[in-house]
């Protein structure tokens, strides 16, 4: 049986797949700070939750 997808599980998945995050800004690589990393993982998970809900309608 498939595990229920939750915000927390998506955040964990995002972090597992991306131990660090590097943005590219006008050609220069920039590693996200801890706060930015946490925010990106959380927002990505929220986006996925919204999309899953949208797709299930």
């Amino acid at each position: 049986m498939a595990e229920k997808i939750t915000l927390e599980s998506l955040i964990a998945q995002c972090k597992k797949e991306n131990p660090k995050m590097v943005a590219t800004i006008n050609g220069e690589e920039y590693e996200l700070t801890v706060e930015e990393y946490e925010e990106a993982a959380t927002n990505w998970a929220e986006m996925r939750i919204q999309q899953i809900e949208f797709e299930s309608k």
Binding site: A23, A40, W44, M47
Partner: protein, 200 residues
């Protein structure tokens, strides 16, 4: 002619001066002119002189409309994550600012609502009409591009929001871009903005 000169105070020889003193007096005069004109030196092709303050002869050579890279604040509705901002820059000419923003979502980038993009320079007032704008939102997987524009929110003078043109009914109308409009945003999707606005 006034001596010293009216505007710059350059001291010139006078009729009663001895000829033998003329070299020194021309030296003084020439040095005065040289000092006064110092800020006009330099510059390069196609540059213009701009005042650096209200002080007389306070100038600098500048390139009109030179582009400056900037990192727009992801104020709300989107997160840069490991995405790519490219060709993202602005140029100010007087009280008009021109902006280009090009963002491609990475695997951890997100769009969770109406994308609000920070301005490089605060606009003249909250909710000021944008002078001109263009916005392109590209759905990479569907190879489809949607057209929109940016609007300044009535509540601030520091950012702009994305809107999409909607084909509905007889006329094309506007709708705020969102997490599901004009498409479900995901990796490799992108938006490009080009707009100009007024500053104080």
């Amino acid at each position: 002619m006034a001596n010293p000169t009216t505007n710059f105070g350059w001291v010139m020889p006078v009729a009663a001066d001895l000829v033998t003193n003329l070299p020194a007096q021309f030296n003084t005069f020439g040095q005065g002119v040289d000092t006064s004109m110092a800020q006009l030196k330099g510059g390069s092709t196609a540059q213009y002189l701009a005042k650096t303050s209200a002080t007389d002869m306070a100038f600098t050579w500048t390139t009109l409309g030179a582009w400056t890279n900037y990192t727009p604040a992801a104020t709300s509705g989107w997160t840069i994550g490991n995405g790519t901002l490219s060709n993202t820059k602005y140029a100010q000419i007087g009280k008009i600012v021109f902006v280009v923003v090009d963002f491609t979502l990475g695997t951890t980038s997100s769009v969770t609502g109406n994308i609000r993009v920070g301005l490089p320079v605060n606009s003249v007032a909250s909710g000021t009409p944008i002078l001109s704008s263009f916005c392109k939102m590209a759905d990479a997987s569907a190879s489809q591009t949607f057209i929109g524009y940016v609007v300044q929110n009535a509540g601030n003078n520091t950012s702009v929001d994305l809107y999409v043109q909607r084909a509905s009914g007889t006329y094309v109308d506007q709708v705020a871009q969102s997490a599901a409009i004009p498409m479900t945003w995901t990796t490799s999707d992108s938006f490009t903005l080009a707009f100009c606005y007024q500053v104080a």
